[in-house]
């Protein structure tokens, strides 16, 4: 790992991907079960689903584009 430098964008992508998986996964669970957190408003918008999806997609783009060892 120390032989080739890992760009900061890869770390960011990795973190966003992990967060995306967790939040998107929770969004699926929430939507499937209808078990919404009490007190939170606008749950009908299914925010974890689309925001988790955005994080996941963005994270994957960065992970792939800036993965260690990629020549450009």
């Amino acid at each position: 790992m120390h032989g080739s430098k890992i760009p900061i964008w890869f770390f960011i992508g990795l973190l966003l991907t992990i967060y995306g998986v967790l939040i998107f996964g929770y969004g699926i669970y929430e939507t499937a079960t209808g078990n919404f957190p009490p007190g939170v408003q606008l749950t009908r918008l299914h925010t974890p689903l689309w925001w988790g999806g955005v994080l996941l997609l963005l994270g994957l783009v960065y992970v792939i584009k800036f993965r260690p060892g990629k020549s450009d």
Partner: protein, 593 residues
């Protein structure tokens, strides 16, 4: 005049943290397992980055200057992220709730002109001189005396502010989540010490960029969902005007002709000259905490572009800070679960213990708890933690550089090896964090100390700005002019501070108004201190011998031949981006005139 007190940076409103803690009601939010996982993963990631970068931080150039390898984007995001602390996010969201869109001035005129000036005009001298720090520039320009004064003041300010940041984070976590204060202080300080101590400035910069992305990822949902619920900008405006019977909350300049016609009690001359010039230029162009990030750029063009890139993001920050405050005003619904209560000042909260009141400063976490469920709430809290940690890391990394390069090397051990200085830098990170922890507990036990710590920046910044500007743009400025201007300017500024501290009635003389409020003191003290230091520099320089012009190459405007940069298309040139910043800056100000 102003209703706010600036603290350590140009744009932190006053938050009385000890009183916030003492009278905290029940926690504002409760975290679930998913939220905890999000926070734990963040800590694991920043420490991993520290360990990974340890292998790339072996020489002093790598450890203290990140190898001067940063691209314009990384340096620019880090530059703006180092200033984007959570205290600022929460404090200015609270100010927007209290005063409306006027609070945006601290993000726009209070930052953008200075950032553009740094990039276009000042950066070439900092960068071409190959200095490692702002005191280092003073050393090259004026000699060791000015360097030592600036270095000691910087080191003191950085380490104490790191302690205040640590304490602030612990208090906010206590109020928002009910976490134990000691737990927050220990966890955050161990994480910061590890990742900065191992990876040096490179690690601090990497984590600041990471934290910048997290802050946006965690906080952006609040204005998006809030605007949706309020019926867009028009609906929000309609609600606020209906609730408050005034449209002043939506005007940045229109009502600043007089102190009494706007919610904040400010006047445009104070905003333009006090905030927009002395304080803003002092902070953004001479505070080593932010300038250090740009010095790590890989070439001159990147160093000039970095503040310009940062300025675009700085202009956008009100979207995640000011809008939540305004939305809190528009969506007040105390009867609903997780509804926004009627918020009051911290003095009112403190005067009514047990009344379950909430202060203006709690609006951002209240809005988070309103819209963010499991996972997303963890992301929002992580954004706050990230903001605090980037502030602490910025302070200790800057402290380490100033201590090693500007105090230890010239004054204690001049002839050590490069690896010795890296070791000193690494140890100074750990010792700096320890001193910060002590400062945090000191502030907790003796709350009045916080006022003095927060005043350090405002006392120091104006004389430093005068010394740097005259040094950089006036060939005639001499060694003794620079040193005495800086030194006597600090004494003058500190004396003004103590004069008002001992007898608050003296504020009317400093601020030239009986109606002056604490913010006016900071602004006017900075203005008088700048003028005083400038007069000393000019007078002393005129009666002492200047350096030959040939010695000023790379240090002073008019005596420096800047290196020719490679040709790039117009859209990659700094002037093009500066013009674009200018157009957007003017357009934004006109839009909410």
């Amino acid at each position: 005049m102003f209703g706010l007190v600036p603290a350590s940076t140009v744009s932190i409103p006053h938050m009385s943290l000890p009183s916030l803690l003492a009278f905290a009601a029940s926690p504002l939010a409760h975290l679930g397992a998913l939220d905890i996982a999000v926070i734990v993963i963040y800590f694991a990631m920043v420490i991993w980055i520290g360990f990974y970068l340890k292998g790339q931080s072996n020489t002093s150039e790598e450890f203290f200057m990140a190898g001067r390898e940063m691209t314009a984007w990384i340096a620019g995001l880090s530059f703006v992220s180092a200033n984007l602390g959570s205290l600022e996010l929460m404090g200015w969201a609270g100010s927007a709730y209290q005063y409306g869109i006027l609070a945006t001035n601290w993000y726009w005129i209070g930052a953008i002109p200075a950032m553009v000036f740094l990039g276009l005009v000042m950066m070439p001298f900092y960068y071409v001189s190959k200095t490692h720090s702002v005191p280092g520039y003073l050393d090259l320009r004026f000699g060791g005396e000015a360097r030592t004064v600036a270095a000691v003041a910087f080191a003191l300010e950085m380490i104490l502010m790191s302690g205040v940041n640590m304490f602030a984070m612990a208090v906010v976590m206590k109020v928002v989540l009910g976490w134990d204060i000691n737990f927050s202080i220990i966890v955050s300080s161990v994480a910061v010490a590890l990742y900065v101590g191992l990876g040096g400035l490179r690690s601090a910069i990497f984590n600041e960029v990471l934290q910048f992305v997290l802050i946006w990822g965690g906080a952006l949902l609040v204005p998006i969902l809030g605007l949706y619920q309020a019926g867009g900008w028009t609906g929000m405006k309609h609600n606020i005007i209906t609730n408050l019977h005034s449209d002043s909350y939506f005007h940045l300049w229109r009502d600043t002709g007089s102190f009494t016609t706007n919610p904040m009690g400010v006047q445009w001359t104070g905003i333009v000259f006090g905030l927009g010039f002395v304080i803003s230029f002092g902070y953004w162009t001479t505070d080593f905490l932010v300038v250090q990030r740009v010095l790590a750029a890989h070439n001159l063009r990147a160093a000039r572009m970095a503040p310009l890139i940062g300025s675009f993001f700085k202009m956008a920050v009100p979207f995640i800070v000011i809008l939540p405050g305004l939305l809190g005003l528009a969506l007040r619904d105390p009867a609903v679960a997780n509804g926004i209560p009627h918020l009051v000042g911290q003095d009112v909260v403190a005067a009514n213990p047990g009344a379950e009141l909430h202060s203006y400063n709690e609006i951002l976490p209240l809005m988070m708890a309103r819209y963010l469920g499991p996972g997303l709430l963890g992301l929002g809290i992580t954004a706050l933690i990230a903001g605090f940690m980037s502030g602490m890391a910025g302070n200790v990394s800057a402290f380490s550089t100033v201590w090693t390069y500007d105090i230890y090397r010239p004054l204690i051990n001049k002839k050590a090896t490069d690896s010795h200085y890296v070791l000193v830098g690494r140890w100074s990170i750990f010792i700096g964090v320890l001193v910060s922890i002590m400062a945090a507990y000191l502030v907790m036990r003796a709350q009045g100390i916080m006022d003095y710590v927060q005043a350090l920046f405002s006392i120091f910044v104006a004389p430093l700005l005068a010394a740097i500007l005259f040094g950089m743009f006036w060939k005639r400025a001499t060694r003794w002019g620079g040193f005495l201007g800086l030194f006597l300017g600090i004494i003058f500024s500190a004396s003004l501070f103590m004069w008002v501290k001992l007898n608050p009635a003296n504020l009317r003389y400093v601020a030239l108004s009986d109606a002056a409020k604490p913010m006016a003191e900071n602004v006017f003290r900075a203005l008088w201190a700048f003028i005083f230091a400038a007069v000393v520099i000019v007078v002393v320089s005129m009666v002492t011998k200047p350096r030959p012009v040939a010695e000023l190459d790379g240090l002073v405007y008019g005596a420096t031949k800047l290196p020719t940069e490679e040709w790039v298309p117009f859209y990659k040139r700094e002037w093009f981006w500066a013009a674009l910043v200018g157009v957007i800056f003017v357009a934004l100000n006109v839009m909410v005139w």
